[in-house]
């Protein structure tokens, strides 16, 4: 119960930070005459972030271990997507001195990595629990 609550809340918070952060706390460059790559990365991260947050909320509510295992895999892949969007798929501005490269990109990389690592730990934990429940460890 405790693990379900803590992991669910963590994913909701991380998802909200990934989705909303590039527009608020660690915002990308302001839109001038032409929107730059960082603007489109931020837009895409809204989607990825909300997906992570909503999946985290489902993780909080659902007790069935199999479903939670599936949700954890979804979170892992969503974390990978959130990481790839600003680095490979869309990218940020060319100059390293722009705010998007100094602040937004490192923040998104760290948050996405946290989602990936936490969901991986969740997957392993759920699989181990499943093995214990099925009696594999009883001698």
């Amino acid at each position: 119960m405790k693990n379900r609550l803590s992991s669910g809340i963590l994913f909701v918070v991380l998802g909200l930070l990934i989705g909303v952060g590039p527009r608020t706390i660690f915002s990308v460059c302001p839109v001038g005459n032409m929107p730059m790559s960082c603007h489109w990365s931020a837009m895409a991260e809204i989607g990825a972030g909300m997906l992570i947050a909503l999946t985290g909320a489902l993780l909080l509510l659902i007790q069935n271990a199999q479903i939670r295992l599936g949700l954890s895999f979804t979170l892992f892949l969503s974390g990978v997507l959130a990481l790839l969007l600003p680095t490979v798929l869309i990218g940020m501005c060319g100059s390293v001195h722009m705010d998007c490269n100094k602040l937004t990109l490192p923040a998104l990389v760290i948050l996405s990595a946290l989602v990936i690592v936490t969901s991986a730990v969740n997957i392993i934990s759920l699989l181990l629990n499943e093995k214990r429940r099925s009696g594999t460890y009883v001698r």
């Binding site: 501005c93 060319g94 100094k102 602040l103 490192p106 923040a107 760290i110």
Partner: protein
């Protein structure tokens, strides 16, 4: 149920796992200590590296610029902040005849928006390959041939476009080489042949592209932006400055040692503060952990008495307590160092900019040394704090301790 023998380490792990909140609190204290020690050491070293880099790259002893443009020149050196200012090239000849001037070279500055960059202006610096002594040592580390008219050497932070080319005012330049990171204005500058940059400025002027009054009004062919001077051995820089002022009017001068000494003083204060703060934090952490361990061991007197009755020797009891303290410290140290690394390294560019000082991260070897030192100091804090309480409980009379409070 596991049938492994109950060793000191396993006993300590069970004790720590059994009281998760208490263990978490102890780890948190060590985590904060390790975070502060590691981040302080890396910040201090980065500022020192930045300052050393600045000192090496100042090159010239004196820079002569148009009257009132001293701050603009410092902006180029420190951050590569794009500027354009010009004065008559004839002044270079006048200055070369002044007593105490050993060597001099002129530079021409132009700023532009790179076609491949978002919206950050780029500083183009035109150098005279025949007389340059300031940037040549650094350029020759990466490129030894003569810089042709359509070639550029770029600073570490300049983003080159496709096919490794840059376009300025509709003129294409190929990137011949890239300089190493210096944390000075060189990182944001593009170095080209002075003939090429003047032609570029003239072309931009004719097209009316992105140039300001200083470019529009200047006779670009006979203009330069600065004269960089190396003073003769045996001459004081201030004396040479005075000599130049006597001979030449309408100029300002910037001494390299002035730029450097200002930062050096600031850095000295910051390093002293970081050192005192780190030492004070380590002592405070030791005191807090000592109090916590004393309270924890006090609350577990009956547990230790039972262990003694079961045959645990006094030495083993001390080892059990110190092992718990060591495990807590190791976990806290690793977590603190990891957290500091996650905060400092990805955000180093932002931190450097906010500090407003030259900032250059140490190399991998240096970072590794700081990491190991932090881990050792932080890991030692737990056992050092717990040793007094551990020895005290091991010497207590077992029966009296067990029946205490009855």
């Amino acid at each position: 149920m596991s049938d492994k023998p109950l060793s000191i380490t396993r006993l300590s792990l069970y004790n720590l796992r059994g009281k998760a909140f208490r263990t978490g609190a102890l780890i948190a204290v060590v985590l904060v200590l390790a975070f502060a020690l590691f981040s302080g050491a890396v910040l201090s070293a980065s500022l020192q590296n930045g300052l050393n880099s600045l000192k090496e790259r100042l090159g010239a002893d004196i820079a002569v610029v148009p009257l009132g443009y001293e701050n603009s020149y410092q902006g180029i050196i420190l951050s590569g902040e794009p500027v354009r200012f010009y004065f008559d090239r004839a002044l270079e000849q006048q200055i070369s005849k002044v007593d105490g001037v050993e060597q001099l070279t002129s530079q021409f500055y132009l700023s532009t928006l790179s076609a491949d960059c978002c919206s950050v202006p780029v500083q183009i610096i035109g150098i005279d390959p025949e007389t340059d002594f300031v940037t040549k040592p650094w350029i020759s580390e990466v490129y030894r041939e003569e810089l042709k008219d359509r070639q550029a050497i770029v600073g570490a932070d300049i983003a080159a476009g496709k096919d490794n080319k840059l376009t300025f005012y509709n003129h294409e330049f190929s990137v011949a080489a890239r300089l190493e990171k210096t944390s000075t204005g060189m990182d944001n500058s593009v170095f080209v042949n002075i003939r090429a940059v003047k032609a570029l400025a003239e072309s931009a002027k004719k097209q009316g592209l992105g140039t300001n009054a200083s470019v529009q009004e200047a006779d670009l062919e006979n203009s330069i932006s600065s004269v960089l001077i190396k003073t003769e051995r045996g001459y004081d820089t201030d004396q040479v400055v005075t000599n130049i002022r006597r001979e030449v009017d309408g100029i300002s001068m910037v001494k390299s040692k002035s730029i450097f000494s200002g930062f050096s003083e600031n850095l000295g204060i910051i390093k002293a503060f970081i050192g005192i703060y780190s030492a004070a934090l380590w002592i405070l952490a030791l005191l807090i952990l000592a109090i916590l361990f004393s309270a924890i061991i006090s609350s577990r007197k009956k547990e230790f008495s039972v262990l003694r009755i079961m045959g645990t020797t006094r030495v083993k009891l001390v080892r059990a307590v110190l092992t718990e303290a060591m495990l807590v410290s190791i976990v806290g140290s690793l977590a603190g160092v990891s957290l500091a690394a996650v905060v400092i390294f990805p955000f180093s560019a932002y931190i450097g900019e906010q500090l407003g000082l030259p900032f250059l991260l140490p190399d991998i070897g240096g970072i590794f040394v700081y990491m190991i030192s932090t881990l050792v100091l932080s890991s030692a804090s737990g056992p050092l704090s717990a040793i007094y309480a551990a020895v005290k409980i091991s010497r207590a009379e077992t029966y009296i301790t067990l029946r205490e409070g009855e």
